[in-house]
Amino acid sequence: MHKSIDQINQRIREGSARVVTAEEMPSIVAELGERGAFQEVDVVTTGTFGAMCSSGAFINFGHADPPIRMERIWLNDVEAYGGLAAVDTYIGAIQQSETREEEYGGAHVIEDLVAGKSVELRANSRGTDCYPRRTISTELLLENLNQAIMCNPRNAYQRYNAATNTSDRALHTYMGTLLPGSGNVTYSGAGLLNPLSNDPSLRLIGSGVPIFLCGSQGMVVGEGTQHSPAGGFGTLMVTGDLKKMPSDYLRAATMSGYGVTLYVGLGVPLPVLDIDVVRATAVRDEDISVDVLDYSVPGRARPSLRKVNYAELRSGSIEINGEEIRTSSLSSFRRARKVAEELKGWVEEGKFELALPTQRIDPRKAAKPMHQTAAGPRVLDIMDRKVVSIGEEEEIRAAARKLLKGGTNHLPVVNGSGTLVGIVTTFDVSKAVANPGKAHLVRDIMKKKVITTTPDEAVDIAVRKLEQHNISALPVVDAQNRVIAILTAMNLGKLFGGRRLK
């Protein structure tokens, strides 16, 4: 049993094509069976609406008089790429304004242009014989641009891992605000409506395929960057004309403490060519699983706390280690539905014909991590091995003497077996001396909750710890929690001026 793309397009032209959304498909297949569904349905529309950071637009401004070869370019104070020809640029969605920072960025510039608002172009140049002009500043509307072509290198993730945070402080991530102590779980993606989840073998979605992109007809360029369908994380590179887009499906946003992003509405119509397409588009939320990753781990390999499917995520809460944790979507399921519904309408009305890929996308590819030829500095490269510590049973006066003699402001406190149990600073000792009370021993005044680092930890991670906890030193401990060195803000100076050891 097979329908050709021409037969399907013929039905679309005649207005007789039966079009359903990917959300409707599972129950149609359940009711009619695969063969029945194949005979009944010609096109399945998909849709997603969520934050897609890897988005942006190519713009051509036309030439000024006298002409300029723009080298540095700003649109509403958001820098755009100046490495293209004289009056071409690429504005990336997450680039932040130099004046308004995370409250305004490239995504907002694109949103403002589409909404018909004027945008200020500023650019400068060193001037050449053919392009003598050095600066320009002008107000532009979308209609003033020769081209404004959305071209998004990585959109429409097949699925995305959910996020939580087991640490004791709130995290601000591209997965939104993650409350401490696994206080919430955030996720993204339209589950059963997701384009790539309805065509995981990439038979139908490929180069040249017409799509719904932000409310107008766009096209798949090919595989997206970081495309990794081997693990279920395929992506698409897509393009569309900004000038034809309404403002409903393109929304700038800010993830507080992280930065700007662009919410993109994207849908792909899938021709029901054979039973395999029926099977693939019958996918349900229950069939699509992701990991719940712990974002409190600042490394690339974040541990997974459990597997979870989209039906569980969408139910409002999931269980982690016996506790009910509430979930929040960052993408909008309501708008994903609207994308699929609107696309369905276009096809039903004969306004939108389908096409098969002119070039297929590899369904087996796996993205690699970065090839790093030089490891970044680690704590052991700059830590101070001449650490002075003090016993918890010693007197406060002894701590004062050690602080004076050691030329340090921090004394790690150790117990009888040499393991770290606390820390005292010059401030703690001064306070105890200035307000003499019951405290006589180091144990009485030490801070018991010590933030530590290890020799192998990346310096950047240690620096985040110093910043987050507003402290100026970290005891460096070994696997047995014995103090082997100390890392102070002073040691960080070794990273500069080529004085780095090793």
């Binding site: 609406f49 969520g50 934050a51 409250e103 939104g176 605000t177 409350l179 206080g183 919430n184 779980v185 955030t186 929304r251 946003a253 800010t254 993830m255 507080s256 403490g257 992003t261 919410y263 409002g316 944790i325 509430r326 979930t327 929040s328 979507s329 960052l330 993408s331 909008s332 399921f333 309501r334 708008r335 539905r337």
Partner: protein
Amino acid sequence: MKLLVTFSRRKGGKPIIAQVVRETGVLINVERAVIDSSEGEALIEVPDDQGRLVSETMTALGAHARILDHGITVNESECVDCGACISICPREAFTFDQEYKLKLDEGKCVLCSRCVDACPHRALTLLL
């Protein structure tokens, strides 16, 4: 209704809320409070018909009480119904309806404003 009570530097040490409860007999529900030795702010809830009485008694005792007509407000033209606010709210004031449209139960809001920053679309505001 909800009242936002602010205590001045000088009156901070006095048990004003307790005194209002004793004088008016109104049972005050303290929903949120930040009070230290010098000043403070408390969000209280009282029966609708006794809001004015409580407010006036508070004022007479040296605190400032303002009746709050609104909690968090949702700007419908900015909201895209993502639901980022849902798991952030400590009072579960946000939910989805059958159509995955965001719903706010204003009565549950304690004006903590956590959701204001968590909203990617800046659709939530707290007017105080």
